[in-house]
């Protein structure tokens, strides 16, 4: 213990008495006070001042100090309200609509990507006998006319006819071979005549635009085609048919008209 130790201890004595020293500094002062009676007396004097002030606060008129603590607390609250953390949270508090909008955009984008990936990479569910399936599987060129007709009273036995261009040849995998025993030239002649009736300048016309006579002729041609196919395939369905749809394949797009 030296005079230098006492000087160092005296410098820290107020903080020590107030409990503001921590760790090694507090331990060093504590050890010094155990050995030095003078410094220990200084510490006791400081503690005594505090005790006397607090005791006097109960008996002495302290009206001059009234409101001081409230002012301090208000100042503390104000300082805390201006802290960086509070400012940060307050700044983002005003951004909640921006966050909601950003979240909506992200959600919409994610859903769009999901749907697009399903459409692009998902399994193809079209049936081979569906219209899309038959069009996709056919090697029909642009301008090909498809006629779908259904026998009256039998929706399941639809007739699917294909005309390569307006009045063109009707050869194709899904056209029946016409037996020569029937006596009619061939299906190609019938379908060419039908194509001439349902198209005008290469475009489809509606049945409503036809005259009654033309419509009867078209249905008669369809009946003949149906009979030829039925005779070839021995299906036995030889009744009259009703045209339902005309499909024109043009540049990979499909346009439909109800007859």
């Amino acid at each position: 213990m030296s005079a230098a130790d006492c000087r160092n201890t005296r410098k820290q004595l107020d903080s020590f008495v107030d409990g503001e020293l921590s760790g090694g500094a507090r331990l060093a002062v504590t050890r010094h006070l155990v050995e030095c009676r003078t410094c220990e007396g200084e510490a006791e004097a400081l503690r005594g001042l505090g005790v006397a002030l607090r005791a006097g606060a109960l008996t002495v008129d302290t009206s001059g100090l009234r409101g001081l603590a409230d002012g301090v607390v208000s100042r503390l609250v104000a300082e805390q309200a201006q802290s960086w953390r509070v400012r940060f949270l307050r700044a983002f508090e005003d951004w909640h609509w921006v966050m909601i909008g950003t979240g909506s955009v992200i959600g919409t984008t994610a859903c769009t990507l999901l749907v697009a990936s399903v459409l692009l990479f998902g399994p193809k569910t079209e049936r081979p006998d569906s219209l899309a399936g038959r069009l996709n599987n056919s090697d029909a060129s642009a301008g090909t006319l498809f006629v779908v007709a259904t026998p009256v009273g039998d929706d399941k036995s639809s007739i699917w006819m294909q005309f390569e261009g307006a009045g063109g040849p009707t050869s194709g995998a899904n056209l029946a071979v016409v037996p020569s025993a029937i006596g009619i030239a061939d299906e190609s002649a019938l379908t060419s005549a039908l194509a001439d009736m349902v198209t005008r300048n290469g475009k489809l016309i509606e049945l409503s635009a036809m005259s009654a006579q033309e419509r009867l002729r078209a249905e008669a041609l369809l009946d003949d085609i149906h009979r030829l196919r039925s005779a070839d395939q021995h299906s036995g369905a030889t009744g009259p048919v009703t045209p339902h749809l005309l499909w024109l394949v043009a540049n990979a797009s499909v346009s439909a008209k109800a007859l």
Binding site: A52, A55, G56, T62, L68
Partner: protein, 67 residues
Amino acid sequence: LDEREVSGRVWRALDQLPFDQRTVVVLREIDGLSYEEIATSLGVAIGTVKSRLARARQGLRAGLGHV
């Protein structure tokens, strides 16, 4: 001197201190604020609080004399 008389002298000595020193003593001893809280509330550095508090305590002891 009894305890009450000592307290009276201490408070009279307190009244003689400059306002800034009196303030830190009251905030520390009566209200029990820490150095950091006092510094924040008064808008000064902690070192300033320490020095004011040390000078205030010296002033109080000087005012008390031999008591």
